[in-house]
C-alpha cells in the first residue's frame, strides 16, 4: 500500500496477511474471488478499498486479507486479470516481501479452454495448460488445441 499520513488511511493495518495494491480500478472483487473469497477462514478480516486515488494509475483498488498468504496459483491468476497489482506479505505489521505480480511462461490448471471441443473440456483427468505467447497485451494459447485466449475472466472456473 502507498505510504501516507495515518489520517489518510481508509483501511486499518493488518498484523499478518497479504496486501494487494494497485489493482486496476473495479477489479478488487474479482481479485478477492481469486484469493479465496467466501472460502477464507473465520479469522480472516478482509478489507477492500474501491476507487482509491493513485498517483500512478489515477484510480485503483486495494485488497487486504488477514492471515492469508496467497498461493502461486492465485498470484498467477492476479497477474492475468490485474497485471498492475503488487503483492505485499505482511508479518507482524511489517512488509516482509513486496513485488509486482509476475506472469509465468505457462499457466496450468487455472482457466478453462474456450474451445468446448478441446480435450481439456472432456471428462479426462488433466488440467488445462496455456502458454503465454504475448505479454502486452497478454495473449495465451492452449497447449492442447492451440485456441487463443485474450479474455480471461469468463474462463475462470
Amino acid at each position: 500500500m502507498e505510504a501516507g499520513p495515518a489520517r489518510e488511511l481508509k483501511i486499518t493495518p493488518i498484523r499478518n496477511g497479504t496486501v494487494i495494491d494497485h489493482i486496476p480500478d473495479g477489479l478488487a472483487l474479482e481479485v478477492l474471488r481469486i484469493v479465496g473469497g467466501s472460502r477464507l477462514g473465520r479469522d480472516s478480516t478482509v478489507s477492500i478499498a474501491l476507487h482509491v486515488r493513485s498517483a500512478k494509475q489515477g484510480w485503483k483498488d486495494i485488497l487486504k486479507v488477514e492471515n492469508v498468504e496467497i498461493s502461486d496459483r492465485a498470484a498467477n491468476a492476479i497477474a492475468l486479470l490485474a497485471p498492475t497489482s503488487t503483492i505485499s506479505i505482511i508479518r507482524d505489521f511489517a512488509v516482509r516481501e513486496k513485488h509486482p505480480v509476475a506472469l509465468p511462461d505457462r499457466i496450468d490448471g487455472l482457466l478453462r479452454c474456450p474451445n468446448l471441443e478441446c480435450i481439456t473440456n472432456q471428462a479426462e483427468p488433466i488440467e488445462s495448460s496455456f502458454e503465454v505467447i504475448h505479454r502486452r497485451p497478454i495473449r495465451l494459447r492452449c497447449r492442447y488445441c492451440d485456441e487463443p485466449v485474450t479474455d480471461f475472466l469468463p474462463q475462470l472456473p
Binding site: 474451445n115 480435450i119 472432456q122 471428462a123 479426462e124 483427468p125 492452449c142 497447449r143 488445441c145 492451440d146
Partner: protein, 309 residues
Amino acid sequence: MRLAGRDLVAIEDLDRPAIEEILEAARALVPAAEGGSVRHTLEGRLVAMAFFEPSTRTRLSFEAAVQRLGGRCLTIADPAATSLRKGETLSDTLRMISSYSDALILRHPNSGAARLAADLSDRPVINAGDGSHQHPTQTLTDLATIQEACGSLVGRRIVILGDLKYGRAVHSLIWALALFGNEMVLVSPPSLRLPESVRQRVRHLAGRIREEDDLATALADADILYVTRIQRERFPDETEYRRVAGSYRIDRATLEGARPELRVLHPLPRLGEIAPEVDPTPHALYFRQAFLGVPVRMALMQSILGGGA
C-alpha cells in the same frame, strides 16, 4: 532435425529440412508402396492404430505403410468395441495401448487429444487427425502430391476452397505452405472462413494469404486447387450445416477458365464438392494424392521408428 523417437502432434513439429527429407524418402519408396519391392525397416515393430473416429484412407494407408515395411499393426477401428464404452477415460486407454506397442497413431474427435497422448506416452505419438485442430500426415501427403505435380513446393499459387474453419487438414496445410513461401488464396462461405488464430500462427512465415470471394477469379492463374469437404460432424448444430452444405461444386465448367496445368487436390472423402466428371480430366489428382499417403507414411514411420529416413 532427427525424427527418431519423436512425436508428430502438429505440423509445426517438423522444420523445413525434416519435411524435405520425408518427401525425398517418400519418392524413393513409391515402388515399395506399389508392392514392387520388399522392405524390412520395421521388422519386429508393432504400431498401434487407435482410431476413435471413422477413417478409411488415413488408417488403411498407415496400416499399408507399416506392413509394407515389415512391421505389424494393433488396430482399434471401432471405439464402441473398447472399454471407453464402459466409461474408461481416454487417458487410461492411451496409456495402456502405448504400453503394448512401439508407436501410437491416434485419431480422435477432440482437439488436443494427440497432445494428451504425447504427454502420456513414452513411445512416439503420431497425430492422425484431432478434432478440428491438425492433421499433419495429411499435409505431408498433400505436399508430396504438389511437389510431384509442380516439381517444386516453393512460390506456388494455391487456391484453398471449402471449410477453412473446422478443416484440420487445412489448418496444418496452411502452415506448411506458408513455410515454403507459397501464395494462398482462400475461398469459403463467410461462416467457414479461416480462424484468425491460424492466420496469426503463420504471420512470421514467408507465405502470403489472401481471401477471394469469386472462385473463377481465384482460379485464373492458380497452380493448385485444394478442395475440402464441409464436415457435418464438426458443426455444433444441423441448421448451421444445412446453411452451407452444397454451397460449392467443382465441375468441368468451373475448370474451363483455369490453366491446363491446374491440378485439383482433395483430402477425401468427397460429397458433392467435385463432380465425378472431373475424375478423368488431367486436372484430377485426388486419387494419386490418396495413394501417395502410403509412401509418405512409410517415410515418416521409417524416420521415427526405423532409425533414419
